[in-house]
C-alpha cells in the first residue's frame, strides 16, 4: 500500500512527462490496434468475398474436379445424399452449384462468361443474388427458362433486361450446348471479376443446358459457425462415399491464405517498428526517472531502504503509467474500430482502382474481434513492463555515497 501510494504520487511529480509517456503508449495501442483491426477486417473481407459469397465454407466435389474442374468431373446427386449432407451436425445450408463457362453474346459482341447454375432458394445463403438485382426480377423457379446477367457484362454486351442472350458452350461429355435465353434481370456485384462476367441460371435450366441431368459441379456447404468448419468438414468426409471429396475453403484457396499470411507478415514489421519507437520513448522516461532521483535513492538506501523496495517503487510507477496508458489506449481505439466497422472505410479514385484490380471491393470494414485489441494491448504492455525491469538492474548498482555527491 505504502509503495503504491509513493508510486502514484511520484508519477504525478512530473505531470507533463507522465502524460507524454502515457500518450505515447496510448498512441501505440491505438495505432497497432486500429491497424491490426483494419488488416484483419480486410482479410475477413477477402475471405468473405470469396468464401461467403461464392465458394462456401466447405465444398463437396467429385474427386478429380479440383485438378480438372470441368463438367465431366461433376457429381451425381440425389435426394438421399442431399439430405444426408443437410442433416449433418453444424451444417447451416447446402447450396448446389453447376458451374461452367460459355460464350455469351449480345447483338454485336461476345464474351466468355461464367455460368452459375443455382438453386434459387439455397443460393440466397451464399451469393445472395436476390439482393443484387438492380433491374428486372429474381428467378421464381428452378426450371425457369431465363438468366440473370451481371451488370458489367450487360454493359459490355450492350444488353438489358428483356433482351435475349446467346449462350454457346459444350456440356457434359462434350455434348454441344447452345441457347437463346431471355434476360430476366441484371445483377450488380461488388467484386469486379464477378461483375464483369457472370451469368446466373436456375439449376434445372442449367442442367438441361449442359446436358448434365441431376449433376452438380459442387455442393457448397455453409457451416453454422465459421470457426467450426474443420469439424464439420471431417464429419462430412467420414459420412460420404470415397469419391466425394470434402474441402474446407482453406484447401480450395491456398493462394488466398498465402496472400493473407504474407500481408500479415509485412504488417507485423510495421508494428515492430512502432513497438520499438514506443519502447525507446519509455526507456527514455525510465532513464530520466532514475537519473533525476539519484540523490533521493542515495538517501533511501542510506537510511536502510532495501534495493528491492527502491526497484519495486520504480516498477510500480512504470506499471501504473503503462497500465493506465494501455487501458486508455484500448478505450480510445474502440470508437475508431467500431466506426469503421459500421461505416467501412471507402476508397475512391486510384486507390479504389488498385484494390479492385485485386478483385476486391474498394472498402475496408474493420474487424471488431476483441482478441485483436487485447493482443496489441498486451504486446505493448509486455514491452513497456520489460523495459521497466531496467530500474531493478539500476538499483543494484546505486552506491549511496556516490549518489549523494553533487
Amino acid at each position: 500500500m505504502l509503495y503504491l501510494k509513493m508510486a502514484w504520487r511520484n508519477i504525478w511529480r512530473n505531470k507533463r512527462r507522465t502524460l507524454i509517456t502515457m500518450a505515447s503508449i496510448v498512441m501505440a495501442v491505438v495505432l497497432s490496434a486500429v491497424m491490426s483491426s483494419m488488416q484483419e477486417g480486410q482479410y475477413d473481407q477477402m475471405i468473405d468475398n470469396t468464401v461467403g459469397s461464392f465458394t462456401g465454407h466447405i465444398q463437396i466435389q467429385q474427386a478429380e474436379y479440383k485438378d480438372e474442374p470441368n463438367l465431366d468431373h461433376s457429381l451425381r446427386i440425389n435426394e438421399v445424399l442431399f439430405r444426408q449432407v443437410e442433416e449433418t451436425a453444424g451444417v447451416k445450408a447446402v447450396v448446389p452449384r453447376i458451374d461452367s463457362y460459355a460464350l455469351a453474346g449480345g447483338l454485336h459482341k461476345t464474351k466468355a462468361a461464367m455460368i452459375a447454375g443455382i438453386d434459387i432458394e439455397a443460393e440466397k445463403h451464399l451469393s445472395e443474388p436476390d439482393q443484387k438485382v438492380i433491374s428486372g426480377r429474381y428467378f421464381n423457379s428452378n426450371s425457369e427458362h431465363a438468366v440473370l446477367i451481371s451488370a458489367g457484362l450487360a454493359d459490355y454486351l450492350n444488353v438489358q433486361t428483356g433482351d435475349s442472350l446467346v449462350l454457346i458452350s459444350s456440356g457434359f461429355h462434350g455434348v454441344s450446348a447452345a441457347d437463346l435465353i431471355p434476360i430476366k434481370g441484371v445483377l450488380k456485384f461488388g467484386i469486379p471479376d464477378m461483375n464483369n462476367g457472370m451469368v446466373y441460371m436456375p439449376l434445372q435450366t442449367a442442367q438441361e443446358f449442359f446436358g448434365a441431368y441431376n449433376r452438380v459441379t459442387a455442393l457448397a456447404v455453409m457451416a453454422q459457425d465459421a470457426k467450426g468448419i474443420h469439424e464439420v468438414a471431417q464429419r462430412l468426409s467420414s459420412q460420404l462415399p470415397d469419391d466425394y471429396k470434402v474441402y474446407g475453403w482453406q484447401e480450395l484457396m491456398p493462394e488466398l491464405i498465402q496472400a493473407i499470411e504474407a500481408d500479415r507478415g509485412s504488417g507485423q514489421i510495421i508494428l515492430m517498428v512502432l513497438y520499438m519507437v514506443v519502447g525507446f520513448g519509455i526507456l527514455g522516461t525510465v532513464l530520466m526517472m532514475t537519473a533525476e532521483r539519484k540523490f533521493e535513492f542515495g538517501v533511501l538506501l542510506s537510511i536502510g531502504t532495501s534495493r528491492f523496495v527502491i526497484g519495486l517503487t520504480l516498477i510500480l510507477e512504470m506499471a501504473t503509467i503503462t497500465i493506465l496508458g494501455t487501458i486508455s489506449g484500448i478505450i480510445a481505439s474502440l470508437p475508431f474500430i467500431y466506426y469503421f466497422n459500421i461505416n467501412p472505410m471507402e476508397f475512391t479514385g486510384q486507390a479504389a482502382a488498385a484494390i479492385e484490380e485485386y478483385g476486391m471491393e474498394p472498402f475496408i470494414r474493420f474487424s471488431t474481434d476483441p482478441s485483436i485489441i487485447i493482443n496489441q494491448a498486451m504486446i505493448v504492455l509486455v514491452i513497456t513492463l520489460l523495459i521497466s525491469i531496467y530500474p531493478l538492474i539500476h538499483t543494484k548498482r546505486i552506491n549511496p555515497v556516490e549518489a549523494m555527491r553533487h
Binding site: L301, I303, G304, R307
Partner: protein
Amino acid sequence: MSIIQVRNISKIYNKEHIPVRALNGIDLDINKGEFTAIVGPSGSGKTTLLNIIGGLDTPTEGSVNIHGTDMFSLKDRKLIDFRLHHIGFVFQAYNLIPVLTALENVMFILQMQGRPHKECVARGMELLKQVGLEDKVDKRPSELSGGQQQRVAVARALASKPDFVLADEPTANLDSKSTSDLLDMMLQLNELGETTFIFSTHDQRVVDRAKRVLTLVDGEIETDEVR
C-alpha cells in the same frame, strides 16, 4: 563500554590514478549518550569518516565495530538492514522523501521495519511532537522551511530508536535562528532520551554546544577534547 569502536581506519580515494589519502589511521571510541562534534578544515575528512562509521562507504584499511558487530564483514543487504535498525542519518539537505508528508516520512523507517501501522502512526506523531512540528504532520517537505525539514529528518533518524545518530553538517543550510533551534532540540533529545549524536560542522556556535569535539586535520585526529 563504547558503542562504536573505530580502529586504524584509512581511506584512500582514487587508488589507481592520483591517490587521495582522506583518512589516515583513525582510532576512535564513541560512548553511549555522547554529543560529539567533528570539526576541521574543508577536505580534512569529516564526511569520509562519518560515511565510514555509518557503513555508507568502505575504508581502505581498518575496522568499525558497532555493538560488537564488525560492520564491514556484513554483505550489502545485511549492511543496509543494519543501518535501518541501528543507525539514524541526517544529511545536509534534501533528507526527506518529497512525495511523503512529514508524518509519513517519519513513519517510513518504521514501516520498512515492518512495524504495525498503528504503532508507526503513534510513534511518528510522538516524534514530531518532540521536534515541535505537531501542527505540520500533513505537510510535504516542499511546504516546510529548511529548519523544519531538518527537524523532520531528526525525528525520522530517531524513529527506530537507533544506537546513534550521524549528522553531516545538519545546520549548513540553515540560518542562525534555525541552527540554534535545531541544536536546542538535538541537545534536549540527547539529554532526555540519551540519544547519541555525532555530527560534523563548520559553525563555531554549533561547536560551542558540543560535549566532545574531535578536530580532524589532513585525515588525522589532531585533538580530542571532552568538555
